[in-house]
């Protein structure tokens, strides 16, 4: 009888997945997502697109906050920088969209060095406030650099054409976002199992111990910032393309809070948690609306006309409930379910 899920070699410990069925289910999920645009209307598809874009951003933040333990309240700053970098390169200077995406990663990564530098001396709340200040500063810089950014007027962004494929339709754009989400997921999973990833986790768990073990705190903290900002910037570019119009107004501070909520609800430090958290946070208001609409048309109307206030309340409630009853987040729930399935009828 199987009594547990034991890892006996180093290779098993760092493997991307721990069993072939996971690969199989992952492929099924990807195929389902590729086929989803054909089965969904534009409204439902917009949720899939938003989830995929948010997954990229949440995975980016997860590297910094989840893996390395550096709290950022200003990730929306990297998001907006990435969106503007793409818009300026592609819409203003007519460069190839691939160059735009590269710029959307590189520019926030460079900007992260400015924020990352204080992180070498700051931790916890102090670092969080520093990153928060960065997001406000970056907005001011964008508004003042009018010749480059059009200031508050913003920049219109067209959907890209890559390798002869037009991503103009909602279906094609969803596939583009899916491609980026899969690539980011693989990248972050690989980072986590690499020497760099283990150094990030060591810093998160105890930075003094990590330094004693020979980890260069300065270099790895900056690397965490740069990597996180690069990925978040790509997410910003996708978000800007989705909005079709990049302006600082399209990137409210609330996005930073939502991103943190995603990590908390999903489970800090887990790529799967970031994905599950994104799905829950994005779909929570709509799912609640659908459930309530089954009972009363008035409740449906209430969700439509007071949607944003109710959404904020639901986010708050979800965070409180998870922190109180399941601090390990959705990924913790998933691990518990899996363990129960494997060990049943035994408890352990």
């Amino acid at each position: 009888m199987r009594t547990g899920d034991y890892k006996q070699t180093y290779g098993e410990l760092v493997a991307l997945v721990d069993s072939p069925p996971v690969w199989l289910w992952s492929v099924v999920l990807v195929l389902a997502l590729i086929g989803a645009p054909y089965a969904l209307n534009a409204y439902a598809l917009s949720f899939v697109t938003i989830i995929l874009i948010t997954v990229v951003g949440a995975l980016g933040l997860n590297i910094l906050t989840g893996y390395t333990g550096l709290i950022s309240l200003g990730h929306v700053g990297f998001l907006v920088t990435g969106a503007y970098a793409y818009a300026i390169l592609v819409s203003k200077y007519q460069m190839h969209p691939l160059v735009g995406f590269l710029g959307a990663g590189v520019v926030p990564a460079l900007a992260s060095l400015i924020v990352g530098a204080p992180s070498l001396r700051l931790k916890g709340l102090y670092l969080a406030i520093t990153t928060l200040a960065f997001s406000f500063i970056i907005n001011t810089v964008i508004l003042e650099a009018r010749t480059l950014t059009n200031g508050a007027r913003g920049i219109a962004v067209q959907r890209p054409e890559l390798f002869g494929i037009s991503f103009d339709s909602d279906v094609a754009f969803t596939w583009l976002c899916l491609g980026f989400a899969i690539a980011t997921l693989f990248a972050t999973l690989n980072i986590r199992r690499s020497r760099v990833g283990r150094a990030f986790v060591a810093i998160r768990d105890n930075d003094t111990a990590a330094r004693v073990m020979g980890i260069n705190l300065h270099a790895y903290k900056l690397l965490a910032f740069v990597t996180s900002a690069f990925i978040t910037g790509i997410s910003g570019a996708l978000y800007g393309i989705y909005l079709s119009f990049v302006s600082v107004e399209g990137f409210p501070f609330l996005l930073s809070i939502e991103a943190l909520a995603i990590l908390i609800v999903g489970g800090l430090g887990s790529a799967l948690g970031a994905v599950l958290g994104t799905v829950l946070i994005v779909l929570l208001p709509e799912a609640t609306r659908l459930v309530f609409s089954l009972f009363s048309a008035q409740m449906d109307a209430l969700f439509s006309t007071g949607a944003q206030e109710l959404k904020s309340m639901l986010y708050g409630l979800a965070i409180i409930l998870f922190l109180r009853f399941q601090p390990r987040g959705l990924v913790g729930v998933w691990h518990d379910l899996r363990r129960t399935w494997v060990h049943w009828p035994l408890r352990y």
Partner: protein, 385 residues
């Protein structure tokens, strides 16, 4: 076997069709016609979004009381976007794809309207925008998108020219917000500065969301400005006027229509008395305004009636124009016919603004502007002759 294949093909086809509103007659049944709208109904901009939606409701209730559109009652579907652009896009998609709206009204703020333009264009749904008229919405003209109102640039030029003519050789002060709206106000102002050779002694810029204007107004006072253009929207203009009152200075002040709502006057108190504003909708203190309020009273709830402001009038006018265009299409209205009839809109009287007209390639109604002045004693704005 063939039966199964045929059923499967039909199922597949229906799934494909669900991807977009390929049938122009969506949103119409034998008894009902659906009109959709997305507005900021929560958060600070709700003051504008709720008021606009009340205007739409008044026009719709009026039409429904008269028997609907050729016998079909109008169903109004309203979504909240909280003034967040991504949610405006999702809201519009929901209204078109899930609620199957036949036509759209609204839509939210200027940035939000600009962002949903590709969605509206792709869908091809007849749309009349009334909340935030900005040039991008009608330049270049889109086949299915019509805008009722006047551009911010024209509005500010009209106001500054009026104040300049009325106050020759005076010193001017200006403060604007650091966003698209602020830039538009400043651009309009600058164009008149050159033309009228105005002497500008104070030019300030504030960050969106700023609440404390004590230092800005102190600088304005020190500059000796005699005519002041307050480029805030609602809370900002109130704070500015209160500060000026504290400093015991009362320059000739002009404000713009986004902040020209009656509750603002109440909050400004006596400091708001005599300020000038520009608008294309009738003031409530005038005959047309009073008539509109009389008409609205039985058609909306008490709470909604209290939420009426100038945006209610612009919303009402846009809804009237849309309803009238659908009505002219007869018993079987289509999107193509509605768009064609909207284009043929010529001098449609709404009672709340000058007659509305569009035309071939003209998607902007270009409303006539008027100067109005605040009267604190009656908490209203009155036309200036």
């Amino acid at each position: 076997m063939n039966k199964y294949l045929a059923s499967a093909s039909l199922l597949f086809a229906s799934v494909l069709l669900s991807d977009g509103p390929t049938l122009a007659q969506q949103g119409i049944t034998d008894t009902e016609i659906v009109i959709g709208d997305v507005e900021p109904l929560t958060g600070p901009p709700a003051l504008l979004g709720v008021a606009a939606s009340i205007g739409h409701k008044i026009a719709i209730a009026e039409a429904n009381n008269a028997g609907g559109i050729n016998g079909r009652k109008i169903k109004y579907v309203l979504e909240d976007d909280g003034y967040v652009t991504a949610r405006t896009i999702q809201g519009v998609k929901k209204v078109i794809e899930v609620d199957k709206a036949f036509a759209m009204l609204g839509i939210s703020g200027s940035g939000q309207s600009i962002a949903v333009m590709p969605v509206l264009e792709k869908a091809g749904i007849p749309t009349v925008i009334d909340v935030a008229p900005v040039k991008f919405l009608w330049e270049p003209p889109r086949k299915n998108v019509f805008v009722v109102g006047q551009s911010y640039e024209e509005g500010i030029i009209h106001l500054v020219k009026y104040l300049a003519d009325k106050n020759p050789n005076k010193k001017w002060g200006l403060i604007t917000q650091d966003d698209d709206y602020g830039i538009t106000v400043r651009d309009g102002f600058d164009s008149v500065v050159k033309e009228k050779k105005l002497k500008v002694v104070y030019s300030g810029n504030y960050k969106k969301g700023q609440q404390d204007f004590s230092s800005d107004m102190l600088q304005l006072k020190d500059s000796g400005a005699e005519v002041f253009l307050a480029g805030g929207i609602i809370a900002e203009n109130i704070a500015m006027m209160k500060e000026l009152e504290k400093l015991n200075v009362k320059p000739v002040t002009g404000i713009f229509w986004p902040g020209r709502v009656e509750p603002v006057l109440k909050l400004m108190g006596p400091a708001g008395d005599g300020i000038y504003a520009v608008d294309y909708v009738e003031p409530f203190a005038g005959e047309a305004g009073k008539a509109f309020l009389e008409k609205a009273k039985p058609l909306v709830s008490e709470a909604e009636f209290k939420g009426i402001n100038r945006y209610t009038m612009s919303g009402y006018a846009a809804a009237k124009v849309l309803i009238s265009a659908i009505e002219r299409c007869g018993k079987q209205p289509t999107w193509a016919c509605t768009i064609s009839e909207l284009e043929k809109t010529k001098n449609v009287e709404t009672g709340v603004m000058a007659p509305i007209s569009f035309g071939p390639g003209v998607r902007f109604s270009n409303q006539k502007l008027q100067i109005i002045r605040a009267d604190f004693s009656t908490l209203s704005f009155k036309p200036v002759n």
